[in-house]
């Protein structure tokens, strides 16, 4: 029996062979090869090279130059977790330019490895309720038919706001202990889909297909739809750390930022998440009681959008204000950085223009929008109750 098979080109072959050689487990190695060039390959090997835009040739070339100068152990880590320094800027260029496909390389019981170097620890993985939610058509939130969906629409970034030890070698045992304790807690609470610990390790907590209870009362929207209560519709990704907006520093260290970038790449590739739907908890959180945004303030400032290969989403007008009439506390200006504050001001201006277009005052227009929110919230709650009854 003869099969038509065009082997991958020299460079691709060298990279795939080299990577395969790093995988000790024969099953994982075969799985990797089958997914890279074999019967499970996303691209035909012969097409692989031609699909890569010309500008990324240089990136591949640069990566190859790195290979001989690093040790095998270092090189293995580079592929498994990605290089934190050298690889950072190159991978970002690839992300920005090509949005590369990210695919599963190893699927072990205790961890997963993805083609962009992301390693996901699975020992903390648990199930929750299956994800199912209503997406309300944008601009027709109160009279259009909501679309039932089960795929995540976006990512909400959090900080765990948990107890911290100084990030120093002498504190290794304490850091580990605190991290383990945190993982145990968030697992019990089903608090996030992912946690990135202080060493940049990515732990899956609640399965992506299931709901994590991370966002509470929250709102976001994109060109297609508005989303209310994002536990059901958005993935929750938390960084182990505490917000320190006043000190002007990011709560995430370089290892965590790197992990966030490759995790975001994977999730975006897997669920076709638009960049504008990768936002922080402070941007989506609302209080129905006070009718104000940013009830939770984690990542109200200093979220490393640029390092994650994302646009500055702080400047996006908040859908909670523009579409549902929420206001903001002027004190938020102190808490948030300049761009978030600019986003709030843009939103305020937009609400003013919309109210004028509807021939009404801003307070009345906001009341109308808030009523819209209450109706949608009731629908979401009713759906959630029905789901629970069905599950029960």
């Amino acid at each position: 029996m003869e099969r038509t098979f065009k082997p991958p080109g020299g460079l691709t072959r060298a990279l795939v062979e080299w990577r395969a050689g790093q995988i000790a487990d024969p099953v994982a190695r075969l799985r990797f090869l089958r997914h890279s060039v074999g019967d499970r390959a996303i691209f035909k090997p012969a097409d692989l090279w031609s699909r890569i835009p010309k500008r990324t040739y240089a990136v591949f070339g640069a990566a190859l130059f790195l290979i001989p100068v690093v040790t095998i152990g270092d090189a293995g880590r580079f592929f498994r977790r990605g290089g934190i320094t050298q690889a950072h800027s190159t991978a970002r260029a690839v992300t920005d330019a090509t949005k590369p496909a990210v695919w599963l390389v190893e699927n072990g019981e205790r961890y997963e490895v993805w083609s962009n170097g992301l390693r996901i620890e699975r020992r903390t993985e648990i199930a929750s309720e299956p994800r199912a939610y209503l997406a309300f058509p944008a601009g027709k939130e109160d009279h259009g038919s909501p679309e039932p969906r089960t795929q995540p629409a976006g990512i909400v970034y959090h900080t765990t706001e948990s107890h911290q030890a100084p990030f120093e070698e002498s504190q290794r045992n304490r850091l580990t202990l605190i991290g383990e304790s945190l993982l145990s807690f968030v697992r019990e609470q089903k608090a996030y889909n992912y946690v990135v610990d202080r060493f940049g390790r990515v732990f899956r907590i609640v399965k992506e297909t299931d709901v994590a209870y991370h966002a509470g009362h929250s709102i976001w929207g994109d060109d297609r739809a508005s989303y209310v209560n994002l536990n059901d519709s958005f993935l929750g990704v938390a960084v182990e750390g505490q917000s320190q907006p006043a000190e002007g520093a990011s709560p995430a260290n370089p290892a965590q930022i790197h992990a966030l970038r490759i995790l975001t790449e994977m999730l975006r590739a897997r669920y076709h998440i638009p960049p504008g739907n990768c936002i922080t908890h402070a941007q989506v959180s609302v209080s129905p009681v006070t009718r104000l945004v940013s009830y939770h303030t984690d990542w109200a400032a200093h979220f490393p959008y640029a390092e994650l290969g994302l646009p500055d989403n702080y400047s996006i007008p908040l859908p909670s204000m523009a579409r549902f009439g929420f206001g903001y506390d002027p004190g938020l200006q102190k808490l948030s950085g300049g761009s978030f504050w600019q986003g709030l001001l843009h939103t305020e201006e937009r609400v003013r223009q919309d109210a004028s277009a509807h021939g009404t005052t801003i307070p009345r227009y906001r009341e109308t929008l808030l009523e819209r929110y209450r109706q949608l919230l009731n629908q979401v709650k009713a759906k959630s109750q029905t789901s629970q009854e069905k599950a029960g």
Binding site: E2, R3, R13
Partner: protein
């Protein structure tokens, strides 16, 4: 004999060979193998015989006034009774000329695997490649094996080319690039893979049975006796005083030359063989590769043939009887 199993392995690899049925299971990280001869012998039914077989725990079934002893015990029983064993399969597929083939292969598969418990593991079983130059229809054979497995409660079932399974089982260190050869009872299966991708595969209709039958016909011995002599005593040393051993040697050589010539033809006439960039390993497996000196003899013939594909080494699988099942298991685990 297994009946319903309590343990649930992660996956099962199954080598459905003309001569043997071998299973490989992965359970808690360890591979476990189990094998039975794919053969049976029938004897007239009597209560005494049936109760003796039962007492001795010899796998057997009773039907139409006949007792069929199947699996490993069939060879010993056939030798004791001076009869030929019967084969549910011939030349790698179900034996159309054997009326009891389905019933007996079902019994043998069950004796190797047992019935699945509630949770069915993934099963990957081997199928032969068509003989070179032919597009043999394996649909019936493959569908029947699936049916048998389904009847035993295994529902997550897929198949793998036998030569490719050998590569998956033995050529991990070359990233599953190289030539895998399974020297079986009915056929010799050959496959070439490049980084796990099967590039070409074929079989030659000569194997252990061909050697046994041919040697028996020229020596006037029972085929079963020749087979036992081959499996227990034969080795390549170039000098035979025993007539049976000498005949076996002749026909073994014929098989080796047939494989090497077919390999040469395949590489020369197949356009799809990719440029490998470097010499590739060749691994020998199967019951036919067991005799002492087989690897050396094969390599000598191979080097003399000057293949168009550079071979880095000819190696014998560490456990030749288990290579196909092991590769099928690895394939199942990657699903």
């Amino acid at each position: 004999m297994k009946n319903s199993r309590n343990d649930v392995p992660e996956a099962i690899g199954l080598d459905i060979g003309t001569s043997r049925i071998v299973s490989a299971e992965r359970n808690s990280g360890d591979n476990k193998f189990s094998a039975q001869l794919n053969a049976f012998v029938t004897i007239p039914y009597s209560k005494i015989t049936a109760s003796t077989l039962k007492r001795e725990q010899v796998p057997h079934s009773v039907s139409d006034g006949q007792i069929a002893v199947y699996g490993n015990e069939s060879a010993r029983m056939a030798d004791l009774l001076g009869r030929e064993i019967r084969r549910p399969m011939t030349r790698g597929v179900l034996n159309a000329g054997e009326p009891d083939s389905l019933a007996q292969i079902e019994e043998i598969v069950e004796s190797v695997l047992g019935k699945a418990s509630d949770k069915s593991p993934k099963v990957c079983f081997s199928i032969p490649a068509p003989p070179m130059g032919y597009e043999e229809n394996l649909t019936y054979h493959e569908a029947t094996i699936r049916q048998i497995l389904s009847k035993l409660g295994y529902n997550d079932v897929r198949s793998i080319n036998e030569g490719l399974a050998v590569i998956y089982g033995e050529l991990e260190d070359s990233n599953y690039t190289g030539v895998g050869i399974s020297c079986g009872g009915g056929l010799c299966n050959v496959a070439l893979a490049y980084m796990s991708v099967p590039v070409l595969s074929f079989s030659i209709p000569k194997g252990g049975d061909f050697i046994d039958t041919s040697a028996a016909s020229v020596t006037g011995e029972l085929i079963n006796r020749v087979r036992l002599a081959k499996e227990e005593h034969f080795h390549f040393n170039g000098h035979f005083t025993d007539k049976i051993q000498q005949a076996i040697s002749v026909y073994y050589d014929d098989v080796i030359h047939s494989i090497v010539n077919a390999l040469k033809d395949a590489f020369m006439n197949t356009r799809s063989v990719p440029k490998m960039g470097r010499p590739v390993p060749l691994v020998l497996s199967g019951g036919g590769a067991l005799p002492g000196g087989f690897r050396d003899r094969f390599e000598k013939v191979l080097r003399e043939a000057s293949l168009p594909l550079a071979i880095s080494e000819v190696r014998l699988a560490p456990e030749p009887l288990y290579s196909t099942a092991k590769g099928a298991l690895i394939a199942a685990l990657t699903e």
